[in-house]
């Protein structure tokens, strides 16, 4: 190839170099390096192109569009009309929106801690060596894999509806409350039950965290005569606090985004999108109602961005709070 010829004078020149002690220079010149780097970058980007295209077209693009729609009146059919902050002021003045915020907060504040407590409790039980351990772990983890699916939500609705398993069981105990899914006050509990039932995912993370706690600490505590509870409180909890933080963060964000289960368990019958008397009208459900039932895509977009801001704020608060209660091994203490 021609390259060898063109390089020849350069090699000659190098031989006359006043300082040949550097040895034979095999690395290419800076310009070459740059060119190759650029080429490698190009190749890299090309490899990433399917993902980049997907990201731009399916994530970033729609997000940008939704940000724009948030400031418009847009009914899907006519061109969006710029209305400034009107969507936001309407939202805050809408009692149904405030109701959906209350329902969502209730769901997050009750559902998340209960789920994590159950996850931690079961993880503590499963952390000890016993027969059939692997089976139990798999069994408890399984609901997490399928729990978010539409089919499970349908099954859940069937379990908690009138004259079904739950209703009949409570009747045995003399409680005649009827089906939960048709009760505006009880339906939210069936959703909490559904999320708690999926405690397997945080449980597995807790289990991993528990394995990391050094045995010596417990041995030392035993020697000092500390009881089980005290060991849990003073050793286990601080040692797994980073894992706990991770779980709290993940589950909280996750809870805010609840949609399909609320929509399916609460919807269907009688045209109510989210439960009788809006009993399971969580935030995303109301967003859906405004966007797809009332064709108010602008307002729905504004609601979506409001949710994003709210979740970001909650996340920020959690990160800020971790200084007070999360202990990292290195540098932290």
């Amino acid at each position: 190839m021609g390259t060898a010829v063109t390089h020849a004078p350069a090699t000659e020149g190098r031989a006359k170099d006043p300082e040949p002690r550097h040895g034979p220079d095999t690395s290419p010149r800076p310009a070459d390096l740059k060119r190759r780097g650029r080429r490698e970058n190009l190749a890299g980007y090309l490899f990433m192109s399917p993902w980049i295209a997907g990201f731009l077209l399916l994530t970033a693009g729609p997000m940008a569009a939704s940000l724009y729609f948030a400031f418009t009146d847009y009914n899907l059919f006519d061109a969006p009309r710029w209305i400034g902050l009107d969507n936001f002021s309407e939202m805050f003045g809408d009692p149904r929106w405030r109701h959906s915020v209350r329902v969502t907060l209730w769901y997050v504040i009750v559902g998340t801690p209960v789920k994590l407590l159950v996850a931690l409790g079961v993880a503590l039980l499963l952390a000890q060596k016993r027969r059939g351990q692997a089976f139990y772990r798999a069994a408890f983890y399984a609901p997490s894999l399928i729990g978010a699916s539409v089919s499970v939500a349908i099954v859940w609705k069937a379990i908690f509806s009138d004259d079904a398993v739950v209703d009949r069981t409570q009747k045995v105990f003399g409680i005649d409350a009827g089906g939960w899914t048709g009760d505006p006050d009880l339906i939210i509990y069936s959703l909490v039950a559904l999320t708690v039932w999926q405690f397997g995912a945080p449980m597995v993370i807790f289990l991993a965290g528990l394995k990391q706690v050094p045995r010596e600490l417990y041995e030392a505590a035993d020697v000092d005569g500390a009881g089980r509870l005290r060991q849990f409180w003073n050793i286990t909890l601080p040692m797994i606090s980073p894992v706990l933080f991770f779980n709290v963060l993940l589950e909280t964000i996750h809870s805010f985004q609840i949609f399909s289960s609320a929509y399916i368990v609460g919807g269907g019958a009688g045209g109510n999108a989210c439960g009788p008397a809006d009993g399971s009208m969580v935030y995303t459900c109301y967003l859906y109602v405004q966007g797809f039932e009332n064709s108010r895509m602008g307002l729905a977009s504004a609601m979506a961005w409001m949710l994003l801001v709210a979740v970001a704020l909650v996340t920020a608060v959690l990160f800020w709070s971790q200084k007070r209660w999360v202990h990292y091994e290195e540098g932290g203490r």
Partner: protein, 429 residues
């Protein structure tokens, strides 16, 4: 080494190019998904409706019949329950891909006309592809809005008081044409006292019933562009409702919500329910009792305020096959054999040809025919009042807020305020 790099780069480029091409092709393929013509002149049209499995089976039979008579037209079908149907339709229509022909109702005509979704079928009538003659009771004009023909009625139905016949017999009540709301209230109390069942299932949230009540009083639920009644009117209606729920005249709304999707009537919570007359067909298959049709109570002993409602077939303005769609609609409303398959599933057939082709033999369908005949004979039918753009959202809000009132989640004044707020938004958009 340089050479190696070059080859590598070319391979990479090729691979990337190929993957881009595939994505591109994929996109093109989806974009072409809507195309429906094929080389041999066969045309495919998409037909969507709301309803349950039972209706789907009947409709599929009528489509088989149609395809046999018009072998060049293929029909692709799609159906959902009522609320889901409109969500899907709305999404499809906004994306420019609505079904070519679909089931429609009065509450949606102005809405989708304002959004340029509906095809004015007048031209197809002029071209002779769609006959608008031979309709009963002035039904040919039901789908006309502002001089445009936006829907063709397939059947007619009317609001009625559907009663549990044995319960009414036990309570000793025989409702007669021209009975008043006072008579009705008394009857509700008698049903409650003598049969231990609530009189009614929750009439206060039924928009179409309140419409009749308003019409009896010279008003209507809707005007051309807004609500035809005041906060004071609704306060009166819902105050009575609240009292009725508390005193057990109306079924416990919580129970009613819990037994859904079954109706309060067939679940034996109430002795009667205001709804469309063709619902007796559904209740008969759902419940154990015998169900009959009673007249709507009146304010002055004469006017019931009733009109014929109707399911229609509409076409999409974006359809590429308006002629085939018109042919399809024409067949569905005029062909006698279609009537024998459909029965009164979508109301009493709209055209005389179909009306005469199907004479019901079972008591339930016979009763529906007799009921509508009695309305014609009594001369109570009046022209329908308008349903502006947003009427469907108002109807849903009326039902939902009425339910919340019944459940005690809202006071009357709160419920009235909320309904007027939501309606104002819905009707102004």
């Amino acid at each position: 080494m340089q050479q190696g790099k070059g080859v590598e780069r070319r391979t990479v480029l090729k691979a990337a190019g190929a993957s881009l091409a595939v994505t591109g092709l994929g996109a093109t393929a989806t974009a072409c998904g809507g195309g429906s013509g094929s080389g041999d002149g066969t045309v495919t049209i998409r037909y969507a409706w709301w309803g349950a499995e039972d209706r789907a089976q009947r409709i599929n039979k009528t489509i088989d019949l149609f395809e046999k008579k018009f072998p060049k037209i293929k029909v692709k079908t799609d159906f959902q329950p009522y609320p889901d149907f409109w969500k899907k339709f709305n999404t499809q229509a906004s994306g420019g891909n609505p079904p070519d022909v679909f089931q429609n109702a009065i509450g949606f005509l102005r809405k989708y006309d304002a959004k340029n979704v509906l095809l004015d079928l007048k031209e197809q009538v002029k071209a002779g592809n769609l006959r608008m003659e031979g309709f009963r009771a002035g039904l040919d004009r039901f789908g006309e809005i502002d001089g445009k023909l936006l829907g063709v009625p397939v059947g007619s139905n009317s609001m009625a008081l559907v009663i549990d016949k044995p319960v009414y017999a036990r309570a000793g009540i025989t409702p007669e044409m021209g009975w008043t709301w006072d008579d009705f209230d008394e009857a509700m109390a008698r049903v409650r006292d003598r049969t231990g069942r609530a009189g009614d299932s929750g009439m206060y949230g039924v928009m179409y019933l309140y419409d009749l009540y308003l019409r009896q009083n010279g008003k209507a639920f809707f005007t051309e562009d807004g609500l035809g009644f005041t906060e004071a009117d609704l306060t009166q209606w819902w105050t009575k409702a609240e009292k009725g729920v508390r005193s057990g005249l109306f079924a416990d709304p919580k129970k009613v919500a819990q037994i859904k999707p079954k109706s309060a009537l067939s679940a034996e919570l109430a002795g009667s329910e205001f709804t469309w007359d063709n619902f007796t067909v559904r209740y008969t298959s759902e419940g154990k009792s015998e169900y009959g049709l009673a007249p709507i109570p009146t304010t002055d002993g004469k006017r019931t305020g009733q009109y014929l409602g109707s399911l229609m077939l509409s076409a999409s303005r974006r359809t590429q096959h308006p002629v085939e769609v018109a042919t399809f609609i024409d067949f569905m409303v005029h062909d006698p054999e279609v009537a024998t398959i459909m029965g009164y599933d979508r109301g009493v057939p709209a055209t005389t040809a179909q009306y005469e082709a199907y004479r019901p033999t079972d008591p339930v369908n016979k009763a529906i025919a007799a009921y509508e005949e009695s309305l014609v004979k009594a001369g109570v039918l009046e022209p329908i009042t308008p349903h502006p753009n947003g009427a469907d959202i108002c109807e849903a809000a009326f039902l939902r807020i009425g339910e919340e009132l019944g459940l005690g989640k809202r006071s009357v004044s709160d419920a009235v305020e909320q309904f007027f707020n939501e309606s104002k938004t819905a009707l102004s958009s």
